[in-house]
């Protein structure tokens, strides 16, 4: 049992390298309609310097025989189950959302839902606690809450939202 737990912990304790090393550092497509939850007003008040940001890459997975959009960059996950069950991935947007502790940042998704991200806590060793939720204005909440502790450069994926004969795959990476 001890050996098993140890191996599982190792499995979860990946090195601090970015998950998608080949991903372009700059947006490769026009960004989605993003609205800063904290700065959406007309006030010129300067925003506090964000210690961290999340880069949200929105992919559209379909079986349309078009392959993987080159703009996505190197993302081995897409070639592994269950992602490999879709033969086409298109980059819809790549947006960087600077996060300030306590303030929410919204990103409107292609299906009309809104991804909201928050920085909850800054931890030692470039590690951050971040929350995310997905809801539809005036509609049902899709993902009420997801809390993640992530090292700088590391990504996690939220997948499964239906969209135009396929699904959306959101790759959320903690970045500067």
């Amino acid at each position: 049992m001890t050996r098993l737990v140890t191996s599982l912990l190792i499995a979860l304790s990946a090195v601090a390298a970015p998950s998608f090393a080949g991903a372009a550092p700059e947006p490769a497509a026009p960004p989605a309609d993003s609205r800063g939850g904290a700065d959406s007003g007309a006030s010129p008040k300067p925003e506090p310097k964000a210690p961290v940001a999340v880069e949200v890459t929105v992919l559209h997975a379909t079986n349309s025989k078009r392959g993987i959009d080159k703009r996505i960059g190197d993302m081995p996950e897409l070639k592994k189950p269950p992602f490999s069950s879709y033969d086409s991935y298109e980059l819809l947007s790549r947006e960087r959302l600077p996060l300030v502790k306590g303030d929410a940042k919204d990103l409107r998704l292609p299906n009309g839902r809104v991804l909201q991200s928050k920085l909850l806590e800054i931890l030692p060793k470039d590690t951050f606690r971040i929350s995310a939720s997905i809801n539809k204005p005036g509609g049902k909440t899709f993902l009420p809450l997801l809390e993640v502790k992530a090292h700088l450069g590391q990504a996690f994926i939220v997948a499964g939202q239906s969209y135009k004969n396929g699904i959306l795959v959101l790759v959320i990476r903690v970045t500067r």
Binding site: L8, L145, L146, E147, G160
Partner: protein, 196 residues
Amino acid sequence: MSEEFDEQELMSFYDGELPDDRVAVWEERLRSDEEAANALARLRSIGDAVRQLSDERGAGGAQIADAVMAAIARDGQGAAARPASTWRRLAPVAAATLALAAAVTLVLRGAGERAGAVGTPAESAVSANGPAPARSEAVEPSEAAEPEMVPAVAIESVDFGAHDGTIFMVQSGDTDTPVVWLVDEPSRPHDRIEPL
């Protein structure tokens, strides 16, 4: 007993990404290495289940995670791969993540390592269906045991709301990427197109 094999390369073989010379090596090996052949069969089983659902249901993604976990459970020989796939309410996910990481990882591992023990965290994840939200701290390696090891990512809690969902890990080179997969309603034929 068969010689240990490279799981990553076997996955590449399965995905058709190996050069011809390596394909030949694997084809030869799979004729004589039962363990490797079984691992490949498990991969094919998962892939077939996923593709079948995807073909049948169009959007398909809603069922894919369940299909994957079901295939793992079917091929996983026992409690180690018991499906910890769907939780309706807030699920403390440290144990769940461990279990599902194990489930995905163990698809490729030998039966000896797969047997038994993973069932414990998997079952604790399944039993976390209760409506009362209960925050769980992510399990991390102890600093004393692994002083250099910094957890790259830990999913601390998930509230799936009214949807079913699952959490698992996908291997990406030296790292594992956590995936939160939710079951959505099928997309409507006239999904509006947003200018991006």
